[in-house]
Amino acid sequence: MTSNNLVYLIALPLFSSGFLMMLGRRADKWGHIFATLISASAFGIGAFEFLQMLARPSESRAVTQKLFSWISVGTFQVDASLLLDQLSISFVLLITGVGTLIHIYSIAYMSHDLDRRRFFAFLNFFIAAMLLLVLGDSYLNLYVGWEGVGLASYLLIGFWNQKPEYATAAKKAFIANRVGDVGLSLAIMIAFATFGTVSFAGVEEKVSGASTAALTGIGLMLLLAATGKSAQFPLQSWLGDAMAGPTPVSALIHAATMVTAGVYLITRSNFIFDNAPTAQLCVVIIGAITLMFGALIGTAKDDIKKALAASTMSQIGYMILATGLGPVGYAFAIMHLLTHGFFKAGMFLGAGSVMHGMDDEVNMRKYGGLGKLMPITAITFGLGYLAIIGVPPFAGFYSKDKIIETAFNSEGIKGLFIGGAALLGALVTAFYMTRVIILTFTGAKRWDEKAHPHESPFLMWGPMAILAIGSVASGFLLSSGNRFVSWLAPVVNSHEVEHAERFQPVVVTTMALVAVLIGVAIAIAKYRSDVPRVAPTNVNIFTKIARRDLLQDDFNEAVLMRPGQALTNFLVATDERAIDGAVRTVGAVVIGSSKGIRKTQNGFVRSYALLILFGAFALLATIWVVTL
């Protein structure tokens, strides 16, 4: 099946972005509305394609569109083609849907910013790049989108780059992403060397003929890429700092869509991971580590956005963990990704709404008791909260519970470990999210006298309300009757394999709910009483470590940066002495011969003629010799 509409999905926001950038100040008055309409129309196209797809039988739901042949060198042929299947449409709807809501929200949120038009141009650019990422039909096309969203993320984190630390945060995100990108480009190279093609369909077709070593190599490199983009261990450190960007950006890019690209990449490459058990195991381990890591950081953060960022990291850990569980896990990973897209975006917008009312104050210790003053924000945030900690029947319950269950039921001792980690993660999540709720919305007010908390305008709470509905209903809608699993089945090759289940679903669910209750209870017990406005310093070492993001920056600094600098110094020294010496020698030889040959260029036409005559004789002589 082919479709001619796919290109507009990408082209509309891309051209809109370029258009807004080029028009400059002239578009200030209407640029934000234009960008929002473009995003909405992209959603419209996505919905139209979705309905058409629903009408087709499940085996022929994928559609493609060949745009042009991009690179054609010898046998190496890459077409710029788009592929819309059950997996990509899920992302398309999430990106354009949540994207449009966040566009609307930003109209109000950014209304005081002089550069609002530029902000919307960047947002549109992000939408275009993200859509290209999920619509590309080959790793190379995906790579273009992958770099595009990286650029958009960089531009938006550093949107207020007049503050040096914000610019630094943008740079940090960019560099961490670059490390991951190296992984992706290496994966593409290995894939091309192994399969001779980089299109998803082509690789999938030839995957059975490839060696496990090559597949493991590709898998590990793809995982590296995913850790960079999705802020997974060990490349997770940039996400917290990325909160420097405007809050809508955090909601769209650093919660709902871009950071989940790693999950998409692994799910898309299911045919590689399913044949490379080692790589798959690494995926599980990374996911398990990160979900604990993020959750622990979340417990210690006083900055509301950083707490949410840590939670994002942890939730994506769940998704990565699920993708590592093989065919059964992909659908749950994507399902959690979608529900997470709703409730986390909703909570970020809620946090933005709080900040909007509190003069951009982000320290939760200076909030308190906001629930009465911002009822809508409190309710929408609360619904998101119930979803994330996994209280039935809210969205997170359905998706997270499935992941925990699948984790427990994977084979051997591995299952117990990762299941335990996932369960513990759920407990900690319940704890720190309850902490956020208590600190922000309940208790006594702790804010400064100058702050005048107020509810946000309709343009802001409207999107929050819609996302809250998603937080409530999306889980049930997706999971009832195994709907989403069978929807995604053709893409991820999962067929219902009934294997011995160690734990009955009801057991796992009960355990998970108990863990959540414990977490909530601890939080209530701890923060019921008054909360000091300044974080206490006489805390135990673990809290200190958690406050310092589990020493991730210290680790990077000590293990990567210092040795890196030392290595650089060493290399520079070597470079100057040995290599430059060699280069200079070559250079000197070249320049010397240059000067030598220049002497023949003496300006006398008679010498030139003689040279020609000499050349003629030389030619004759050579031809003579060659012919003999």
Partner: protein, 504 residues
Amino acid sequence: MSDTPVLQYSFLAPILIVLGGAVIGVLLEAFAAAKRRAVLQLTLTLGTLFIAFLSLLRIRNLTSAKAAMGSVMIDGPTILMQGTILLIAFFAVMIIGDVDNFTAQASAVPGSDEEKSALQAGRQQTEIFPLTLFAVAGMLLFPAANDLVTLFVALEVLSLPLYLMAGLSRHRRLFSQEAALKYFLLGAYASAFFLFGAAFLYGFSYSVTLSGIHAAVIGGTANNIFLLIGLTFISLGLLFKVGAVPFHAWTPDVYQGAPTPITGFMAAATKVAAFGAMLRIYYVTFAEANWNWRPILTVIAIATMLVGSIVAITQRDIKRMLAYSSIAHAGFLFTGVIALNKAGLAATLFYLLAYGFATIGAFGVITLVRDSSGEITDLNRWAGLGRRSPKIAALFSFFLFAFAGIPLTSGFIGKFAIFTAAYESGNIGVVVVGVLSSAIAAFFYIRVIVMMYFADDNGDSLTVVIPSPLTSIAIWVSGGVTLVLGVYPTPVLNAINTLATFIR
């Protein structure tokens, strides 16, 4: 009663239209009022080239037609090369149209009172336009020529106007006249060799047509000494035109001395024409004698690449540097010629187009960098240009990137294609030298960029003049073509691939 000859005017239309335009241009010189000549001539020249291009489009589907009793071959490569020449000439004329680059009165002694009065009277040497058209006509005929006599006539028709045009610089006139004289003397010398070679080939085959000579090459013994001498001397004439080592010595002097717009035109268009003729001769006529000429051409290719790249490093003058760069590029083009396969032919044709446009653009930019005494070509004085004229400096850097073969420019695709073709034909040595020379060459291109952007401003009086609208169009279009050919070359490559087959 013999049959009257048939010329097939429609096949020859592009050439005839250009010649007709040139003749009308001469009449304009004779009868139009001096003040209006420049505008009239410019309009006429651009119009002529445009109409010639349209008439070429009308015959674009001819892949094997002969005109003028078999003297002119209209096949795919002819169409492609004529198209390239016409396009390049069109934009080159836009830059030439800025007639202030040319002397007010060529016949006045440099520095004399007569020159001063001519300057004050605002006289202009508008003969440059018909001369350009005559040269273009010769260039159009050159790659299409199907016998040695036509080839020689075309060679002279394209060369003679260029000799004159090289001497018309407004500033540093003695230098320019010296360049013209050198070019003329050495060109005549090389033409003599060419003619001598043609005579030997006639002696070898009793025919002047390329197909006749080809038949003799197949039928006779390849060791025939007349063939070898003829082949050598014919090659010499062509090698001289493209500036191959050791027949390159004129190139730096002439490129530096000639008025800059003319240098650009000469560098871009002459290369297309000369390589066109060379491709036809080697691919059509002497393909079966390749055991004789390929080793020589390989040596020449290597020498040309190396000498061009190496000597360019020590140049202090931008035009001279680009002259050596053009020598190096001739070497790169040779690697396509000696590949002797279809890929080589297609790659060479693409490279010529890419290089042509980058050259027009680069020399167009050089015409803009001036002080009160005229163009500044001393590299040291270009320091800090990037800060004073960021747009123009960026554009120039882009052209240099194209010359250096950096990705996303046409130069990269061209080099990639041409080295691939050479590699496929088994000439790995040439490819290695080619890549090495590219690395050396990249050094001096980048050095100019470093000069423009990172060197300290020397507080020079040098300015970048506001280009005339036509010059701006020409340089920006050249930049655009260079970018498009670098980013999305597929349509052009496909078109070249479909058309690039020589017909005997």
